[in-house]
Amino acid sequence: MNYIFDGLREAGRLILTLDADVMDAAARSLWVSSAAVILAMLLGIPLGVLLARVAFPGRRAVIVVSRAAMAVPTVFVGVVCYAMFNRSGPLGPLEILLTPWAIVIGEFLLALPIIISLTHNAVASLDARVGETAWTLGAGRLRRWLTYLSEARSGVALATLTAFARCVTELGVAMIVGGNLPDRTRTLATAAALENSKGEFARGLAMGILLLCISLGVTCVIARVGRERQTS
């Protein structure tokens, strides 16, 4: 049992002294996940509104596929991205394998279905009077869509935070297409896995605790947004 307490003590020291390796992995985790989620928001939010408000052939199928894709294993996405980005793959000439941008794209693919599905849910469950009121007051399509997002903003915020939580804690994509290279592609999740496999329990634990803190922080915000949504 002692090694666990020693590990916890050492983990605390690494975090409090802002250990360079730990902070480097934490910073990379945050920016890579943020970039992936922002890109997913740019595409996923309009698609979510489109699915909720515009009828077109195959809409039902797209909704089902995006919901199913929310649970796709991160390792599977990592393997697919590897197949695309490796030298002989169709996107090999881009030479982004083993760079943070490969992780960004992989995590973007993880975040996208979450943002599409949860935005669709939030907008589709709006009161029918929202669209009717906006239309009858003379709002054009763009203004109506912005109104839907404004009225469903708690749900859209929930979608974004859920996607971020999924990205920042994932291991499969970062490990397979990032390669866990120090100072280049190492994230908190890959670093925690590596340090643990090397027997560096304290360092692995420090990374894990930081990851846990980020997840807990995001979960608290999700819970708060969820409460606001219920009361609004």
Partner: protein, 204 residues
């Protein structure tokens, strides 16, 4: 401005609204009177262009952007009374928006509520906000679904006064009772259950 002939709306094979004949000229006010479930709201929705699946004739010679419809229980967007009234004014690109908004809030007796959040309004205040928002855009055809429900006597008097003085607009409103009696010049349309027919009658 409005010509209706043998209009009927059906949902799931059941007729939910039937109006045999109705016409209204520009600047006139009409009141559709009928019990709950008689199809008054559906009739208004057809006139507004919100309900397009109907049989019969319904000619409204006003562009859809010049019609405004207020639900029986209006929906106010998140924000304040002021931001709600500004919504339609911005959508229509109206000049002097502040002046218009101020004017209509005063006319509906809610000028002092301009900065209040919509979640802090009573039912009657919400209704008056929605009416001010609708009238502010200067639509040619104003359709009001039970504007006097959930309104106290003071509110009823204010709304009635606005309706009487809005000469530039054509107005159709619904009511389940005779609370519109003070609109002496209003044309009346009795709407009964869809199995029976509805005929417009002048009431002066």
């Amino acid at each position: 401005m409005i010509e209706v002939d043998n209009l009927s709306v059906s949902k799931s094979g059941q007729t939910i609204c039937a109006v045999s004949s109705f016409s209204l000229a520009e600047g006139e006010v009409a009141v559709a009177v009928g019990q709950n479930g008689s199809g008054k709201s559906t009739f208004l929705r057809v006139l507004a262009g919100l309900e397009r699946d109907y049989a019969g004739k319904c000619d409204v010679s006003v562009a859809s952007r010049q019609r405004v419809f207020v639900h029986q229980t209006p929906y106010l967007f998140r924000g304040t009374v002021w931001s709600n009234v500004m919504y339609g004014l911005k959508a229509h690109g109206v000049a002097n928006r502040d002046q218009h908004a101020e004017n209509w809030l005063q006319r509906f007796g809610i000028g002092q509520l301009a900065n209040r959040g919509v979640d802090q309004l009573s039912g009657g205040e919400k209704k008056r906000t929605a009416l001010a928002r609708a009238f502010a855009i200067g639509a040619k055809l104003i359709l009001l679904d039970e504007p006097f429900s959930e309104i106290d006597d003071e509110g009823t008097a204010i709304i009635t006064e606005v309706l009487k003085s809005a000469n530039e607009a054509t107005i159709v409103l619904t009511t389940p009772s005779d609370r519109y009696q003070r609109l002496e010049s209003a044309k009346e349309l009795r709407i009964t259950a869809p199995a029976q027919s509805a005929v417009a009658s002048g009431k002066n």
